[in-house]
């Protein structure tokens, strides 16, 4: 059979597209025919819309960029294909961290192939600004607050932020992890334990969010994340809390990590990951099935993992790839991944759809963003959070 694949994804921009092209070339050199079906926008919403329509029409694409619990959700609808044969042949279980491997499995079979690991709880800073104001990279939220006040006095915007709900959620989960610790995070945002959700810690989290709101400039609403990154880059703002794709912006502007900009995990312990992956859909025809298998194999293969992640700013999902070519931030990330994986604090990001199913994650985000963009009290926010989660099933 001649391997064929129609690939639905939303990696359309510069670095991503280049890395997908790598995959496509490899696919072609292995005798496959690649049909590209990119749908950008809304963090994959548009692609998901298209996916649903196509599945219902009985016309599903062969491979789709999917991640987190959504993979299991689709599996439950009975439309995913089983790629265990590839996974077993390639020994994925040995090279992937256990928590990440868990995301790729449905009812014990392999149904998706991981591409990368993004770390979410990063804090980025402008080195010159920090130096000029005599500030170290903060390691606790109190330190961060103190630094922010200092920066405000100096006329610098402490926190660059874009007012989109997923960005609010990104900051929020970093604060939850930082203030509550990995266990609290697990309880609150993964298990959705009502006690944790209504705990005092959660009130403190919202208090901190309110404080952070004060460190953000007035025009943040609707701002794209990369514009916020640019603010850090050109010294308008000091910090940004954002996943490691922000690094791509710095690098693209010719900035050097450690010199021009600094990267560190957000205050507190733990590691929040976002794993991109491809799920294979049930399709007709040997050609297509062959395509799926080939694709799965290539995606997890070291070569692609390296090339792709160099371009994307993330780190490989498999642990056996050499990090020599990667920058310092990536190295930190990989190292932390190893350590937290062992310590049980390698946690899925809720803001990026790794921890929860869509409706629960969305319910939380609604409250977070409503709180951040109004003068809602923390107590109210906590109450609403519990209600919203309860209402989301």
């Amino acid at each position: 059979a001649e391997p064929q694949a129609e690939v639905l994804h939303w990696w359309t921009s510069g670095g991503e597209a280049k890395s997908v092209a790598v995959l496509q070339e490899e696919f072609a050199s292995n005798g496959g025919t690649w049909t590209d079906m990119p749908v950008a926008g809304g963090g994959g919403d548009a692609a998901m819309t298209a996916l649903r329509a196509r599945v219902l029409a009985g016309n599903a694409p062969t491979a789709v960029q999917l991640k987190g619990p959504a993979i299991q959700e689709w599996y439950e609808e009975g439309v995913l294909a089983d790629i265990s044969s590839v996974a077993e042949a390639e020994g994925w279980a040995d090279v992937l961290p256990a928590s990440i491997a868990g995301h790729m499995q449905c009812d014990g079979t392999w149904c998706a192939a991981p591409v990368n690991v993004h770390r979410i709880d990063w804090i980025w800073a402008n080195a010159d600004v920090l130096a000029a104001n005599g500030i170290e990279m903060p390691t606790t939220w109190d330190e961060f607050n103190a630094a922010a006040v200092k920066l405000m006095d100096a006329g610098v915007i402490p926190l660059a932020h874009g007012g989109q709900s997923w960005q609010d959620a990104t900051v929020f989960e970093a604060v939850v992890l930082g203030l509550g610790g990995p266990e609290f995070y697990q309880k609150a945002l993964v298990e959705l334990d009502p006690e944790a959700l209504t705990s005092d810690t959660m009130v403190q989290v919202f208090d901190q969010m309110r404080t952070l709101r004060g460190y953000v400039d007035e025009n943040f609403s609707g701002r794209d994340w990369n514009l916020a990154t640019a603010m850090v880059m050109n010294g308008e703002a000091a910090f940004q809390i954002m996943g490691d794709w922000a690094k791509g912006e710095f690098l693209a502007a010719g900035k050097k990590p450690g010199e021009d900009f600094l990267c560190a995990s957000t205050p507190g312990d733990g590691y929040l990951y976002n794993v991109d992956s491809f799920a294979m859909f049930e399709v007709e025809g040997d050609d297509n099935r062959a395509g799926q298998e080939l694709l799965a194999k290539l995606i997890v293969a070291p070569k692609f993992q390296e090339v792709f992640n160099l371009n994307k700013g993330s780190i490989p999902a498999r642990t056996d790839v050499s990090l020599d070519a990667f920058d310092i931030c990536a190295k930190i990330s990989a190292e932390d991944m190893g350590s937290t994986s062992a310590g049980g604090s390698l946690l899925p990001s809720y803001a990026h759809g790794m921890a929860l199913r869509g409706s629960q994650a969305g319910a939380i985000t609604d409250v977070v963003t409503a709180h951040f963009n109004s003068d809602m009290s923390s107590a109210d926010a906590v109450q609403q959070l519990a209600d919203a989660v309860a209402n989301s099933y």
Binding site: T12, G14, V20, A40, A50, R52, A53, A57
Partner: protein, 299 residues
């Protein structure tokens, strides 16, 4: 038609100055509105002609210091959507293949429907019309999933005929509305005269009503073309690789949340994607009013 401001040169005395002042006010008002309408286009156009550097540093409203068409070239044939870097060009053709037949069909059917509802009333025609009108309000998000299912069953999922079909179905409410409201103003005696002359249903439509319909055809075509050309939701849901319309490509170019945002390319792409509709407006708009001014409705 009659022009209300006809011989108003008034005896050059009392109200002459008042009239001139009024006239000035009128033009100032029209000019202000023109500014309001032009502002976004101005911003888009100037941005598309600036370099990225200038966009980052300069003011939004300022004219480009140095005009460059690179962004346009990139948008048309170089920008990457996914792994292909062919710009908007290949998708453009898809859009044409979808929009032209869909506009034609929905306009034609709408004209026939409007003609029936306005001039050949039968019992229940008004109820049917109301039902069709209400169809205008159904949110398209609602129909996505069942429609996908039906398209799959009909075997035209992901194809251009499938997209044409969807656009025609959901355009019917409007096209019927437009034609019906136009045709009710045409005196019933015209149909009567033609019937006595021996013309049948279709003949009357073809020979009497269609020639009268230029303005409303233009309105309908403008509306339908805009709706269909600019449609994203159906385009993204009911297409597959190879049948995606230009809006999906534009979306891919504009909505890339990672990497450096090339605003000038985005803007250029946006303008290019909008050019056909703009063109339709500029060209058709002329006929639209002209058809009406000919005032041919009156016998």
């Amino acid at each position: 038609m009659t022009d209300l401001s006809m011989p108003q040169t008034q005896t050059r005395s009392q109200s002459a100055t008042g009239k001139i002042a009024l006239r000035w006010l009128l033009y100032v008002l029209l000019g202000l509105f023109a500014l309001y309408y032009l502002m976004p286009l101005f911003v888009m156009l100037t941005t598309s002609l600036k370099s990225l550097e200038e966009i980052r540093t300069g003011s939004l409203i300022s004219l480009p210091r140095e005009v460059s068409f690179d962004a346009w070239k990139t948008a048309w044939s170089g920008a990457c959507t996914g792994i292909q870097c062919e710009g908007l060009r290949p998708y453009f053709w898809n859009s044409v293949l979808i929009a032209v037949p869909a506009v034609f069909l929905s306009t034609l059917i709408g004209a026939l429907n409007g003609y029936v509802v306005a001039q050949w009333r039968f019992k229940g025609a008004n109820i049917i019309f109301s039902l069709m009108l209400f169809g205008c309000f159904i949110p398209f998000q609602v129909v996505l999933l069942p429609m996908a299912r039906l398209l799959g069953m009909m075997g035209i999922a992901g194809t251009i005929p499938g997209l044409i079909f969807v656009h025609v179905i959901y355009g019917l409410g409007f096209t019927t509305l437009f034609f019906r409201n136009y045709y009710v103003t045409i005196p019933a005696e015209l149909t009567k005269a033609a019937r006595v002359d021996g013309a049948g249903f279709l003949r009357i439509f073809w020979s009497i009503f269609l020639p009268l319909s230029l303005p409303i055809i233009v309105v309908t075509v403008i509306w339908q073309f805009t709706q269909i050309w600019n449609d994203f939701l159906f385009g993204v849901s009911f297409s597959q690789a190879g049948t995606q319309p230009v809006t999906v490509a534009l979306n891919n170019i504009v909505n890339s949340t990672t990497g450096v945002k090339e605003y000038n390319v985005d803007m250029a792409a946006a303008i290019i994607a909008g050019l056909p509709t703009l063109l339709v407006y500029v060209v058709a708009g002329k006929y639209f009013i002209r058809g009406l001014t000919a005032g041919s409705v009156k016998g």
